[in-house]
């Protein structure tokens, strides 16, 4: 199935893209999707081992299961305010 990854701020600069659609096995978790991303060529391998993620705009834990079309956002430490 396909999920859409989004990258922000320093992670966006690291991977050189703000968005990427990629394939994961059906029923894959957030952790598994992140492993797939890190295995890609380019800056993906330099993404931190522990990264905050949101699935469909809500913070999610690594064991969260993904579904077709989910939006998986990789979020650097936040600095608003």
């Amino acid at each position: 199935m396909h999920v859409r990854a989004r990258f922000f701020a320093s992670y966006r600069e690291l991977v050189g893209a703000s968005e990427l659609e990629f394939e994961v096995p059906p029923g894959a978790t957030v952790a598994e999707a992140l492993s797939r991303l890190r295995a890609r060529d380019g800056g993906f391998g330099r993404l931190p081992t522990s990264v905050a993620v949101a699935v469909n705009r809500e913070y999610a834990t690594p064991d969260r299961g993904l579904e077709e079309g989910d939006e998986l956002a990789l979020l650097p430490p936040v600095a608003g305010g």
Partner: protein
């Protein structure tokens, strides 16, 4: 009326004040986060906020709703600006009003503290020497217990 928005235009304190304050309210509190000319001892010339806008809008609304619970009224407005800002520009504005002051202070403080912890917004500073860097932020924690499939 509770309002929570991520905005690109300058934040006007007078507009915020005009959106709160009912006849039954005895306390109005306005907090402004302002771009300052230094950070961690380094002179700052300006900065740029980047946001995951769709999610930030939802998180800001959730924070506002929580704070309104503490406030006990629906007179709460919070705006967070994104884009390029200069020294002295308002990056975040929070206006609340309530019958009594304790609730106003508590709600206002809740909003800004939670913004710092949870709002998916990032800050790139431009220093006096021309260099730029992403400000080291706070790792947003997933909600307690998280969600399992």
């Amino acid at each position: 009326m509770i309002r929570a928005e991520v905005v690109e235009d300058p934040i006007d304190p007078s507009v915020l004040l005009g959106l709160v304050g009912e006849d039954e309210d005895g306390a109005v509190l306005l907090f402004l986060g302002v771009v300052r000319d230094h950070n961690d001892g380094r002179p700052v010339r300006g900065l740029r906020y980047e946001a995951y806008v769709e999610m930030a809008t939802e998180v800001l609304r959730a924070i506002a709703d929580e704070a309104a619970g503490r406030l006990g009224t629906d007179r709460l407005v919070v705006l967070h600006r994104v884009g390029v800002l200069e020294i002295g520009d308002v990056s975040v504005g929070i206006a609340v009003s309530s019958p009594h002051r304790a609730e106003a202070f508590e709600a206002s403080r809740h909003v800004i503290e939670e913004i710092k912890k949870r709002l998916p917004v990032w800050k790139e500073e431009e220093y006096a020497d021309g260099n730029r860097d992403w400000v080291a932020g706070i790792s947003p924690a997933p909600p307690p217990g998280g969600e399992s499939p």
